[in-house]
Symmetry: C2
Subunit: 143 residues, 2 copies
């Protein structure tokens, strides 16, 4: 069970931008984490599309949070990015398993997935960016 790197990078981009408290660039985030700029650009575009980031153009342009960190819920971000299904039977268009409909496993897995998401609901971006070491790390890369 693994989150996609797409979701992982989205969360990291939000954490960096949230901890920075000033405009940051894709190049800075990419260099700070050692992750592909191209991959990050796609993630940032979706975050902007969803209202989590605001992108501004120009010499002093870059990324800022699109809403307060206290309003960015971890469950909502993970649900928006994590589009893969937990098991084959969760996608009726591609499912080939013949016991779908007579198998209680799907029910059990769905409940487990809901418990996972419910737990994430307890966290907001503001909870993730408070650490002083993290703020130093970000400041050193944006200064």
């Amino acid at each position: 069970m693994r989150l996609t790197s797409y979701t992982d990078f989205a969360l990291r981009a939000l954490i960096f931008t949230g901890a920075a408290r000033e405009t940051v660039t894709i190049a800075t985030i990419s260099a700070a984490y050692g992750i592909s700029k191209e991959h990050l650009r796609k993630v940032v575009n979706q975050l902007a599309h969803l209202g989590y980031l605001i992108t501004t153009q120009g010499r002093h342009g870059g990324l800022t949070l699109g809403k307060p960190a206290e309003k960015i819920n971890l469950r909502a971000v993970v649900e928006a990015f994590e589009t893969s299904q937990l098991a084959e039977c969760f996608d009726k268009d591609t499912n080939t398993c013949p016991i779908d409909g007579m198998c209680k496993l799907k029910h059990a897995l769905r409940n487990a997935q809901q418990s996972f998401l419910k737990e994430l609901e307890n966290y907001h971006l503001s909870d993730l960016v408070k650490n002083p070491q993290l703020q130093v790390f970000v400041r050193q890369r944006t200064g």
Copy 2:
């Protein structure tokens, strides 16, 4: 977030064998689900190694449950098969994320993963094989 097909097939093999209540073969399970015999053989070997299945050789050989379905817990099976880590930072040997140790995301994800597994703990194989339609499906393929 997706379970590996390895885990999915392990659960399906247990469901089929548990619903059959008689010796079944890898060929029968493979044909019933339309999944690769080779892939299934690896899964069955691990299930046998873990004590969930007993394999017997010979003309009437095949697979039976290694313990009562009431004793086969869904969490235990998923934990045994699902070796992939939820995010890069969960594996300290391969992690490259520089904010590991100062980032609370890992803590949030770990709690969510525990909630997922805790929910699965409520289910045993016996809960998954009771459906009469499932038993008809299995009987038609083993008879």
